[in-house]
Symmetry: C2
Subunit: 188 residues, 2 copies
Amino acid sequence: MAKTLNVRDALLEQLVVVFRERGYEGATLVQLAAATGLGKASLYHHFPGGKAEMAAVLLRKSVAELQQRAFAHLNKMKRSPVERLDAFIDGFSDYVAQGASHCLVAVIAQGSAADVHGDLINNQFADWRSSLIRVYEELGEKRKRARRSADQLLDELYGALLTAKLLGDPNHFMRCVKRLKRALGALG
Amino acid sequence: MAKTLNVRDALLEQLVVVFRERGYEGATLVQLAAATGLGKASLYHHFPGGKAEMAAVLLRKSVAELQQRAFAHLNKMKRSPVERLDAFIDGFSDYVAQGASHCLVAVIAQGSAADVHGDLINNQFADWRSSLIRVYEELGEKRKRARRSADQLLDELYGALLTAKLLGDPNHFMRCVKRLKRALGALG
DNA sequence: GTCTATATAATGATAGAC
DNA sequence: GTCTATCATTATATAGAC
Protein backbone atom coordinates (compact mmCIF):
# COMPACT_ATOMS: atom_id res chain seq x y z
CA MET A 1 0.00 0.00 0.00
CA ALA A 2 1.16 3.50 -0.73
CA LYS A 3 2.99 4.86 2.30
CA THR A 4 2.27 8.37 0.98
CA LEU A 5 -0.55 9.35 -1.31
CA ASN A 6 0.48 11.17 -4.43
CA VAL A 7 0.58 14.92 -4.03
CA ARG A 8 -2.59 15.61 -5.95
CA ASP A 9 -4.65 13.21 -3.84
CA ALA A 10 -3.21 14.65 -0.64
CA LEU A 11 -4.23 18.13 -1.81
CA LEU A 12 -7.70 16.94 -2.72
CA GLU A 13 -8.21 15.51 0.74
CA GLN A 14 -7.45 18.88 2.25
CA LEU A 15 -9.55 20.79 -0.28
CA VAL A 16 -12.67 18.71 0.13
CA VAL A 17 -12.92 19.72 3.77
CA VAL A 18 -13.33 23.36 2.78
CA PHE A 19 -15.95 22.66 0.12
CA ARG A 20 -17.96 20.46 2.48
CA GLU A 21 -17.92 23.07 5.24
CA ARG A 22 -18.46 26.24 3.22
CA GLY A 23 -20.26 25.08 0.09
CA TYR A 24 -19.17 25.76 -3.47
CA GLU A 25 -19.76 29.52 -3.48
CA GLY A 26 -18.63 29.88 0.11
CA ALA A 27 -15.24 28.28 -0.48
CA THR A 28 -12.73 30.97 -1.50
CA LEU A 29 -9.34 30.44 -3.04
CA VAL A 30 -7.73 31.99 0.01
CA GLN A 31 -9.41 29.41 2.25
CA LEU A 32 -8.67 26.57 -0.15
CA ALA A 33 -5.02 27.56 -0.39
CA ALA A 34 -4.77 27.97 3.38
CA ALA A 35 -6.16 24.46 3.87
CA THR A 36 -3.35 23.05 1.77
CA GLY A 37 -0.61 25.26 3.19
CA LEU A 38 0.18 26.45 -0.34
CA GLY A 39 -0.15 29.90 -1.88
CA LYS A 40 -2.98 30.59 -4.30
CA ALA A 41 -0.65 30.54 -7.29
CA SER A 42 0.65 27.11 -6.30
CA LEU A 43 -2.87 25.75 -6.24
CA TYR A 44 -3.32 26.90 -9.83
CA HIS A 45 -0.24 24.90 -10.76
CA HIS A 46 -2.02 21.75 -9.60
CA PHE A 47 -5.49 22.77 -10.77
CA PRO A 48 -5.19 25.13 -13.76
CA GLY A 49 -8.96 25.28 -13.99
CA GLY A 50 -9.17 26.85 -10.53
CA LYS A 51 -12.10 26.34 -8.22
CA ALA A 52 -14.28 24.81 -10.92
CA GLU A 53 -11.70 22.11 -11.64
CA MET A 54 -11.15 21.34 -7.98
CA ALA A 55 -14.90 20.90 -7.47
CA ALA A 56 -15.28 18.79 -10.60
CA VAL A 57 -12.46 16.46 -9.58
CA LEU A 58 -13.67 16.24 -5.99
CA LEU A 59 -17.23 15.53 -7.10
CA ARG A 60 -16.12 12.54 -9.14
CA LYS A 61 -13.86 11.38 -6.32
CA SER A 62 -16.74 11.64 -3.83
CA VAL A 63 -19.14 9.80 -6.09
CA ALA A 64 -16.62 6.99 -6.38
CA GLU A 65 -16.06 6.93 -2.65
CA LEU A 66 -19.78 6.88 -1.90
CA GLN A 67 -20.16 4.06 -4.38
CA GLN A 68 -17.35 2.01 -2.88
CA ARG A 69 -18.05 2.62 0.75
CA ALA A 70 -21.84 2.47 0.71
CA PHE A 71 -23.84 1.61 -2.40
CA ALA A 72 -21.52 -1.16 -3.59
CA HIS A 73 -22.67 -3.27 -0.65
CA LEU A 74 -26.17 -3.37 -2.12
CA ASN A 75 -25.00 -5.51 -5.03
CA LYS A 76 -23.03 -8.12 -3.07
CA MET A 77 -25.30 -11.01 -3.93
CA LYS A 78 -23.55 -13.41 -1.56
CA ARG A 79 -25.11 -11.59 1.38
CA SER A 80 -28.73 -11.47 2.38
CA PRO A 81 -30.77 -8.35 1.51
CA VAL A 82 -30.89 -7.30 5.15
CA GLU A 83 -27.13 -7.70 5.55
CA ARG A 84 -26.58 -5.63 2.40
CA LEU A 85 -28.81 -2.83 3.66
CA ASP A 86 -27.05 -2.92 6.98
CA ALA A 87 -23.64 -2.67 5.32
CA PHE A 88 -24.91 0.15 3.12
CA ILE A 89 -26.08 2.17 6.12
CA ASP A 90 -22.78 1.64 7.91
CA GLY A 91 -20.86 2.59 4.79
CA PHE A 92 -22.87 5.76 4.33
CA SER A 93 -22.37 6.59 7.98
CA ASP A 94 -18.61 6.18 7.58
CA TYR A 95 -18.63 8.29 4.41
CA VAL A 96 -20.09 11.26 6.30
CA ALA A 97 -17.87 10.62 9.32
CA GLN A 98 -20.79 9.64 11.56
CA GLY A 99 -22.54 12.89 10.74
CA ALA A 100 -19.54 15.07 11.48
CA SER A 101 -19.12 16.05 7.85
CA HIS A 102 -21.43 16.52 4.90
CA CYS A 103 -21.81 14.72 1.61
CA LEU A 104 -19.89 16.66 -1.01
CA VAL A 105 -22.23 15.44 -3.74
CA ALA A 106 -25.15 17.04 -1.92
CA VAL A 107 -23.15 20.20 -1.35
CA ILE A 108 -22.38 20.53 -5.06
CA ALA A 109 -25.99 19.71 -5.95
CA GLN A 110 -27.14 22.67 -3.89
CA GLY A 111 -24.71 25.26 -5.28
CA SER A 112 -24.31 26.93 -8.66
CA ALA A 113 -21.93 24.16 -9.73
CA ALA A 114 -25.09 22.06 -10.08
CA ASP A 115 -25.66 23.77 -13.42
CA VAL A 116 -22.63 21.91 -14.76
CA HIS A 117 -22.78 18.70 -12.72
CA GLY A 118 -26.52 18.24 -12.25
CA ASP A 119 -26.88 15.52 -14.88
CA LEU A 120 -24.02 13.47 -13.48
CA ILE A 121 -25.48 13.69 -10.00
CA ASN A 122 -29.04 12.96 -11.09
CA ASN A 123 -28.03 9.94 -13.16
CA GLN A 124 -25.84 8.56 -10.41
CA PHE A 125 -28.55 8.89 -7.80
CA ALA A 126 -31.17 7.39 -10.10
CA ASP A 127 -28.83 4.44 -10.46
CA TRP A 128 -28.23 4.17 -6.73
CA ARG A 129 -31.96 4.42 -6.08
CA SER A 130 -32.51 1.49 -8.45
CA SER A 131 -30.01 -0.60 -6.51
CA LEU A 132 -31.84 0.15 -3.29
CA ILE A 133 -35.21 -0.68 -4.82
CA ARG A 134 -33.89 -4.01 -6.09
CA VAL A 135 -32.77 -5.02 -2.61
CA TYR A 136 -36.19 -4.29 -1.15
CA GLU A 137 -37.76 -6.32 -3.95
CA GLU A 138 -35.50 -9.20 -3.01
CA LEU A 139 -36.91 -8.81 0.46
CA GLY A 140 -40.28 -9.69 -1.00
CA GLU A 141 -41.70 -6.20 -1.40
CA LYS A 142 -43.72 -5.40 -4.50
CA ARG A 143 -42.16 -2.80 -6.80
CA LYS A 144 -44.33 0.07 -5.58
CA ARG A 145 -43.64 -0.64 -1.94
CA ALA A 146 -39.94 -1.27 -2.63
CA ARG A 147 -39.73 2.18 -4.21
CA ARG A 148 -41.28 3.69 -1.13
CA SER A 149 -38.85 1.87 1.15
CA ALA A 150 -35.85 2.93 -0.92
CA ASP A 151 -36.96 6.56 -1.05
CA GLN A 152 -37.65 6.60 2.64
CA LEU A 153 -34.19 5.28 3.47
CA LEU A 154 -32.44 7.82 1.27
CA ASP A 155 -34.62 10.65 2.57
CA GLU A 156 -33.92 9.76 6.19
CA LEU A 157 -30.16 9.53 5.75
CA TYR A 158 -29.81 12.82 3.89
CA GLY A 159 -32.48 14.44 6.02
CA ALA A 160 -30.70 13.52 9.23
CA LEU A 161 -27.54 15.20 7.94
CA LEU A 162 -29.50 18.39 7.44
CA THR A 163 -31.70 18.34 10.55
CA ALA A 164 -28.60 17.70 12.66
CA LYS A 165 -27.56 21.19 11.59
CA LEU A 166 -30.99 22.67 12.13
CA LEU A 167 -31.07 21.24 15.64
CA GLY A 168 -27.42 21.99 16.31
CA ASP A 169 -27.09 18.42 17.52
CA PRO A 170 -24.04 16.51 16.21
CA ASN A 171 -25.47 13.22 17.49
CA HIS A 172 -28.72 13.53 15.58
CA PHE A 173 -27.38 11.74 12.51
CA MET A 174 -26.20 8.70 14.42
CA ARG A 175 -29.53 8.44 16.21
CA CYS A 176 -31.10 8.16 12.76
CA VAL A 177 -28.61 5.47 11.80
CA LYS A 178 -29.43 3.46 14.91
CA ARG A 179 -33.15 3.87 14.25
CA LEU A 180 -32.70 2.60 10.69
CA LYS A 181 -30.59 -0.36 11.77
CA ARG A 182 -33.09 -1.26 14.46
CA ALA A 183 -35.90 -1.23 11.88
CA LEU A 184 -33.76 -3.47 9.69
CA GLY A 185 -33.35 -5.89 12.54
CA ALA A 186 -37.11 -6.25 12.74
CA LEU A 187 -37.19 -7.10 9.02
CA GLY A 188 -34.54 -9.79 9.02
CA MET B 1 -57.35 42.78 4.44
CA ALA B 2 -54.56 44.72 2.82
CA LYS B 3 -55.24 45.04 -0.89
CA THR B 4 -51.54 45.71 -1.35
CA LEU B 5 -48.79 44.61 0.99
CA ASN B 6 -46.60 47.38 2.29
CA VAL B 7 -43.58 48.05 0.13
CA ARG B 8 -41.07 46.36 2.44
CA ASP B 9 -43.06 43.12 2.56
CA ALA B 10 -43.48 43.13 -1.19
CA LEU B 11 -39.72 43.51 -1.59
CA LEU B 12 -39.05 40.73 0.89
CA GLU B 13 -41.27 38.34 -1.06
CA GLN B 14 -39.21 38.96 -4.15
CA LEU B 15 -35.89 38.75 -2.32
CA VAL B 16 -36.59 35.45 -0.60
CA VAL B 17 -36.89 33.71 -3.96
CA VAL B 18 -33.28 34.57 -4.76
CA PHE B 19 -31.92 33.44 -1.40
CA ARG B 20 -33.84 30.16 -1.59
CA GLU B 21 -32.58 29.41 -5.08
CA ARG B 22 -28.96 30.56 -4.78
CA GLY B 23 -28.18 30.26 -1.08
CA TYR B 24 -26.80 33.02 1.11
CA GLU B 25 -23.34 33.27 -0.48
CA GLY B 26 -24.73 32.61 -3.95
CA ALA B 27 -27.20 35.48 -3.84
CA THR B 28 -25.54 38.65 -5.13
CA LEU B 29 -26.81 42.20 -4.78
CA VAL B 30 -27.16 42.44 -8.54
CA GLN B 31 -29.47 39.40 -8.54
CA LEU B 32 -31.35 40.61 -5.49
CA ALA B 33 -31.85 44.05 -7.01
CA ALA B 34 -32.90 42.55 -10.34
CA ALA B 35 -35.52 40.43 -8.58
CA THR B 36 -37.11 43.56 -7.15
CA GLY B 37 -36.79 45.67 -10.27
CA LEU B 38 -34.87 48.27 -8.26
CA GLY B 39 -31.29 49.42 -8.57
CA LYS B 40 -28.75 48.28 -6.02
CA ALA B 41 -28.64 51.67 -4.33
CA SER B 42 -32.42 51.64 -3.90
CA LEU B 43 -32.22 48.31 -2.12
CA TYR B 44 -29.82 49.87 0.36
CA HIS B 45 -32.42 52.54 1.06
CA HIS B 46 -34.82 49.83 2.25
CA PHE B 47 -32.17 47.62 3.86
CA PRO B 48 -29.26 49.77 5.05
CA GLY B 49 -27.57 46.66 6.42
CA GLY B 50 -27.36 45.17 2.93
CA LYS B 51 -27.44 41.44 2.29
CA ALA B 52 -26.96 40.56 5.95
CA GLU B 53 -30.01 42.57 6.97
CA MET B 54 -32.15 41.13 4.18
CA ALA B 55 -31.23 37.62 5.24
CA ALA B 56 -31.82 38.35 8.93
CA VAL B 57 -35.27 39.79 8.26
CA LEU B 58 -36.19 37.01 5.87
CA LEU B 59 -35.03 34.35 8.31
CA ARG B 60 -37.34 35.67 11.02
CA LYS B 61 -40.16 36.02 8.54
CA SER B 62 -39.67 32.44 7.36
CA VAL B 63 -39.53 31.07 10.89
CA ALA B 64 -42.82 32.81 11.61
CA GLU B 65 -44.36 31.49 8.42
CA LEU B 66 -43.20 27.93 9.09
CA GLN B 67 -44.63 28.21 12.60
CA GLN B 68 -47.99 29.50 11.40
CA ARG B 69 -48.43 27.28 8.38
CA ALA B 70 -47.06 24.03 9.79
CA PHE B 71 -45.96 23.64 13.40
CA ALA B 72 -48.84 25.63 14.91
CA HIS B 73 -51.20 22.82 13.92
CA LEU B 74 -49.41 20.51 16.36
CA ASN B 75 -50.72 22.47 19.33
CA LYS B 76 -54.38 22.71 18.31
CA MET B 77 -55.67 20.59 21.15
CA LYS B 78 -59.22 20.48 19.78
CA ARG B 79 -58.05 18.12 17.07
CA SER B 80 -56.87 14.55 17.44
CA PRO B 81 -53.11 13.84 17.34
CA VAL B 82 -53.39 12.22 13.94
CA GLU B 83 -55.35 15.16 12.54
CA ARG B 84 -52.72 17.54 13.90
CA LEU B 85 -49.88 15.60 12.31
CA ASP B 86 -51.78 15.51 9.05
CA ALA B 87 -52.33 19.27 9.13
CA PHE B 88 -48.66 19.79 9.99
CA ILE B 89 -47.50 17.78 7.00
CA ASP B 90 -49.86 19.64 4.68
CA GLY B 91 -48.73 22.97 6.11
CA PHE B 92 -45.07 22.10 5.63
CA SER B 93 -45.80 20.95 2.13
CA ASP B 94 -47.49 24.28 1.36
CA TYR B 95 -44.61 26.19 2.93
CA VAL B 96 -42.15 24.65 0.48
CA ALA B 97 -44.59 24.98 -2.43
CA GLN B 98 -45.05 21.22 -2.76
CA GLY B 99 -41.31 20.76 -3.06
CA ALA B 100 -40.87 23.41 -5.73
CA SER B 101 -38.95 25.71 -3.40
CA HIS B 102 -36.63 25.24 -0.46
CA CYS B 103 -36.91 26.11 3.20
CA LEU B 104 -35.12 29.40 3.76
CA VAL B 105 -34.31 28.45 7.33
CA ALA B 106 -32.42 25.40 6.08
CA VAL B 107 -30.71 27.48 3.42
CA ILE B 108 -29.46 29.96 6.00
CA ALA B 109 -28.44 27.15 8.35
CA GLN B 110 -26.16 25.77 5.65
CA GLY B 111 -24.43 29.04 4.71
CA SER B 112 -22.00 31.31 6.51
CA ALA B 113 -24.93 33.32 7.90
CA ALA B 114 -25.38 30.37 10.27
CA ASP B 115 -22.54 31.82 12.34
CA VAL B 116 -24.87 34.66 13.29
CA HIS B 117 -28.24 32.91 13.23
CA GLY B 118 -27.34 29.41 14.34
CA ASP B 119 -28.62 29.79 17.88
CA LEU B 120 -31.97 31.17 16.77
CA ILE B 121 -32.40 28.30 14.33
CA ASN B 122 -31.25 25.63 16.78
CA ASN B 123 -33.53 26.86 19.56
CA GLN B 124 -36.51 27.15 17.25
CA PHE B 125 -36.06 23.65 15.90
CA ALA B 126 -35.53 22.20 19.37
CA ASP B 127 -38.86 23.77 20.27
CA TRP B 128 -40.57 22.46 17.17
CA ARG B 129 -39.13 19.01 17.80
CA SER B 130 -40.61 19.08 21.30
CA SER B 131 -44.04 19.88 19.88
CA LEU B 132 -43.77 16.93 17.54
CA ILE B 133 -42.65 14.61 20.32
CA ARG B 134 -45.59 15.67 22.49
CA VAL B 135 -48.07 14.76 19.78
CA TYR B 136 -46.61 11.30 19.40
CA GLU B 137 -46.78 10.86 23.17
CA GLU B 138 -50.45 11.77 23.03
CA LEU B 139 -50.76 9.00 20.50
CA GLY B 140 -49.67 6.64 23.25
CA GLU B 141 -46.01 6.31 22.38
CA LYS B 142 -43.48 6.23 25.19
CA ARG B 143 -41.07 9.17 25.29
CA LYS B 144 -38.19 7.32 23.69
CA ARG B 145 -40.31 6.04 20.85
CA ALA B 146 -42.05 9.39 20.44
CA ARG B 147 -38.66 11.01 20.00
CA ARG B 148 -37.80 8.53 17.29
CA SER B 149 -41.08 9.16 15.50
CA ALA B 150 -40.64 12.93 15.66
CA ASP B 151 -37.05 12.77 14.40
CA GLN B 152 -38.01 10.43 11.62
CA LEU B 153 -40.79 12.71 10.41
CA LEU B 154 -38.54 15.79 10.37
CA ASP B 155 -35.72 13.87 8.71
CA GLU B 156 -37.97 12.57 5.98
CA LEU B 157 -39.49 15.94 5.17
CA TYR B 158 -36.19 17.78 4.98
CA GLY B 159 -34.48 14.80 3.37
CA ALA B 160 -37.06 14.61 0.62
CA LEU B 161 -36.42 18.27 -0.22
CA LEU B 162 -32.74 17.47 -0.67
CA THR B 163 -32.99 14.11 -2.42
CA ALA B 164 -35.47 15.61 -4.87
CA LYS B 165 -32.53 17.73 -6.05
CA LEU B 166 -30.10 14.82 -6.01
CA LEU B 167 -32.48 12.78 -8.14
CA GLY B 168 -33.51 15.72 -10.29
CA ASP B 169 -37.10 14.72 -9.67
CA PRO B 170 -39.47 17.57 -8.72
CA ASN B 171 -42.16 15.08 -7.71
CA HIS B 172 -39.98 13.29 -5.21
CA PHE B 173 -40.98 15.53 -2.31
CA MET B 174 -44.71 15.02 -2.80
CA ARG B 175 -44.22 11.27 -3.00
CA CYS B 176 -42.67 11.51 0.44
CA VAL B 177 -45.62 13.55 1.68
CA LYS B 178 -48.08 10.97 0.38
CA ARG B 179 -46.05 8.20 1.99
CA LEU B 180 -46.11 10.01 5.32
CA LYS B 181 -49.83 10.70 5.16
CA ARG B 182 -50.54 7.11 4.24
CA ALA B 183 -48.55 5.94 7.27
CA LEU B 184 -50.55 8.36 9.39
CA GLY B 185 -53.77 6.87 8.12
CA ALA B 186 -52.66 3.48 9.41
CA LEU B 187 -52.08 5.02 12.84
CA GLY B 188 -55.42 6.78 13.20
C1' DG C 1 -37.51 56.85 -3.07
C1' DT C 2 -34.81 55.96 -7.10
C1' DC C 3 -31.17 56.74 -9.96
C1' DT C 4 -26.04 57.23 -11.90
C1' DA C 5 -21.62 57.22 -10.61
C1' DT C 6 -18.12 55.84 -7.76
C1' DA C 7 -15.52 54.09 -3.93
C1' DT C 8 -13.66 50.01 -1.50
C1' DA C 9 -12.73 45.44 -0.85
C1' DA C 10 -12.58 40.70 -2.07
C1' DT C 11 -12.27 37.18 -5.43
C1' DG C 12 -10.63 34.45 -9.21
C1' DA C 13 -6.76 34.20 -11.98
C1' DT C 14 -1.94 35.10 -14.25
C1' DA C 15 3.08 36.54 -14.92
C1' DG C 16 7.41 35.80 -13.98
C1' DA C 17 11.35 35.35 -10.53
C1' DC C 18 13.50 31.78 -7.93
C1' DG D 1 6.81 23.48 -7.65
C1' DT D 2 6.37 27.52 -4.93
C1' DC D 3 6.52 32.14 -4.26
C1' DT D 4 5.55 37.54 -4.61
C1' DA D 5 3.40 40.73 -7.12
C1' DT D 6 -0.13 42.05 -9.92
C1' DC D 7 -4.32 42.10 -12.87
C1' DA D 8 -9.14 41.87 -14.12
C1' DT D 9 -13.49 41.15 -12.47
C1' DT D 10 -17.01 41.04 -9.41
C1' DA D 11 -19.06 42.18 -4.97
C1' DT D 12 -20.53 45.10 -1.32
C1' DA D 13 -21.44 49.53 -0.17
C1' DT D 14 -21.82 54.80 -0.37
C1' DA D 15 -22.37 59.77 -2.31
C1' DG D 16 -25.02 62.84 -4.13
C1' DA D 17 -28.16 64.47 -8.02
C1' DC D 18 -32.95 64.38 -9.16
